[in-house]
């Protein structure tokens, strides 16, 4: 009897997440839909002008989508190099002492609030890059990518490291036994075997970068135009929602447009997560861990 109650209680708790997800999806759809009706799907997604508070307003989110794509793309390059690189070093090459220092340090990076990253980017990195590269303004897509890239390092590094540790010892031993040296074993056996795990890490890092808000709001400059260079100010989707939601008249077209942006972001991150799940499943099958 008692056991049954516990069972149901915990089932309820577990299904709460489903409830939240359904609730969020419905809200996004219901609140976002009016803008597709009124502005039109094509004009909304591919319009080049974002002037939500002008009279008459323009609701074209192409500049915002492209800003997110550019900034995330740049962040990914930096995140992959730093994240996968440090995972390989920590797992394959570092001695015990170094690992004891490096691992917690990378994890602490994840614990820093994003507003601190934003402040750091705005006050230190942006002016520094502006002087160093002699560009008109430091708050631009490049600075955003740089700071965001650093923020994805903990995600990419720790999941990549897990992937490396899942590679069975027999693989390495077999490789060394046939005469491959450590470098050959690493690049031709271990990394390919951990490949899908590392891909999962990268996709999850990407999904973190796409959804990051406070940092991009502070360091990207916020100009709503389709970027043609990494050194122009841009306005990613999350930044637009965060900056404008406060003043959008509840129930107005601008309000609905911000929800529609949220809906599109939701689809993007959902896609990333589904792909990550598929890739990691394939990875487990490959190593015979699926059971």
């Amino acid at each position: 009897m008692k056991e049954k109650i516990y069972r149901q209680l915990f089932a309820l708790l577990a299904f709460a997440s489903v409830l939240f997800l359904v609730g969020i999806s419905i809200t996004l759809f219901v609140e976002g839909l009016p803008v597709f009706m009124e502005v039109g799907v094509f004009d909304f997604l591919f319009g080049k002008l974002w002037y939500p508070t002008s009279d008459p307003p323009d609701f074209g989110i192409l500049p915002l989508i492209m800003a997110t794509v550019w900034v995330t793309g740049g962040a990914l390059v930096i995140g992959i190099v730093l994240g996968v690189g440090s995972a390989i070093y920590i797992h394959e090459m570092a001695g015990r002492t170094q690992r004891a220092i490096l691992k917690p340090t990378v994890e602490i990076l994840a614990a820093i609030p994003s507003i601190v990253y934003g402040f750091f980017g705005m006050v230190l990195v942006a002016p520094f890059l502006q002087r160093l590269l002699d560009i008109p303004v430091g708050l631009c897509a490049f600075t955003g990518s740089l700071v965001l890239g650093i923020m994805t390092v903990p995600t990419i590094c720790s999941i990549s490291e897990d992937a490396l540790s899942y590679v069975p010892h027999s693989f390495r031993e077999a490789s060394l036994a046939v005469g491959a040296n450590r470098w050959q074993t690493l690049t031709q056996v271990v990394i390919p075997a951990a490949g899908s795990g590392i891909s999962t890490a990268i996709i999850l890092g990407m999904s973190r970068a796409v959804g990051e808000t406070m940092t991009v709001l502070m360091v990207c400059g916020g100009a709503a135009m389709v970027p043609t260079s990494f050194f122009q100010p841009v306005r990613p989707m999350t930044a637009a929602i965060a900056a404008e939601m406060g003043e959008a008249v509840v129930g107005g077209l601008h309000f609905h447009a911000l929800f529609a942006i949220g809906l599109i972001l939701f689809f993007i991150t959902l896609l990333f997560n589904v792909v990550a799940e598929m890739v990691s499943r394939r990875f487990r099958l490959k190593l015979g861990l699926a059971g």
Partner: protein, 282 residues
């Protein structure tokens, strides 16, 4: 095993209780919480005045509890309409749409002017330019001019910095300086006065605008149409880019709301206004 289950269960129950307490706390609106609570929400421009005034007011009236929040003029007025705040700070007059919604909800927003604010154009301290005309400001911000040499400065690209389209300062600037024309799409949009000042201070070719309260030694303000933005020129109306700051109430203020507004308008309150960088009404 049983012990663990018991522990988990009690944790769940405890957190459930805590959650329901929180829910109750969140759902009860301040208006219902007795007359000893005053909630002020709205414009971040008015926030420093409301914050300091609330602190001083509470020191004198220990029985009252005032909570002050930012969020922007729109948020403040929306909360006033929803009945979740007693005073809505605003750096712009209420919009027709908002007024319609208020009337539909039986709310009667009343404007109380508490201070004047001037919007100053600021440039980097390394910039040699001293003054602009209003027409030049408009040309820069709407995108007709992109190089400092076209407005009498040295050569170099103008980096245009603006407040976010959601802020009251942006709207006031749009009306006072741009005749409601659109800001150029490549302008940097910053989320706060502070962020505008920081960006301009760190970027040699930048121009930005902030409330007079946010002028710092790190940036230099420009003379506009021959008038320096100062307290005197704002109050006399000589300086063109100035606006009143409001505290909206539902109907004529009564009770503690009235006491608080009276305090802000008193000599002591207006001294706070001056101290946080705005222009007092007297």
């Amino acid at each position: 095993m049983k012990e663990i289950a018991k522990k988990i269960l009690s944790t769940v129950v405890a957190s459930g209780l805590l959650l329901s307490c929180l829910m109750v706390a969140m759902t009860s609106s301040p208006a219902d919480a007795g007359g000893n609570r005053l909630t002020i929400t709205g414009s971040t421009t008015v926030l420093p005045i409301a914050q300091r005034a609330a602190e001083d007011f509470m020191e004198k009236h220990a029985e009252i509890n005032i909570s002050v929040q930012g969020g922007g003029s729109g948020v403040g007025i929306a909360s006033l309409i929803d009945g979740t705040c007693d005073i809505a700070d605003a750096s712009r007059p209420i919009k027709d749409k908002e007024l319609e919604r208020a009337v539909a909800r039986g709310i009667d927003p009343k404007a109380n002017v508490v201070a004047m604010d001037g919007i100053a154009l600021i440039v980097n301290t390394g910039n040699s330019l001293q003054s602009l005309t209003k027409a030049q400001v408009k040309a820069i911000y709407t995108g007709k001019v992109s190089d400092w040499s076209a407005v009498g400065g040295g050569s170099g690209q103008i980096v245009v910095v603006s407040r976010d389209s959601a802020s009251g300062t942006f709207e006031a600037f749009g009306e006072l300086a741009l005749d409601k024309e659109r800001v150029r799409p490549d302008a940097l949009m910053q989320a706060s006065n502070q962020a505008v000042a920081t960006t301009v201070a760190k970027t040699p070719g930048a121009i930005g605008y902030v409330g007079l309260g946010y002028l710092t030694p790190d940036v230099r303000s420009l003379v506009i149409d021959g008038v320096m933005p100062t307290k005197e020129t704002v109050l006399t109306g000589e300086y063109g880019l100035a606006r009143p700051l409001f505290m909206y109430t539902n109907g004529k203020p009564t009770g503690y709301t009235k006491n608080f507004i009276d305090f802000v308008l008193s000599e002591e309150g207006q001294k706070i206004v001056e101290e946080v960088g705005y222009v007092g009404l007297k």
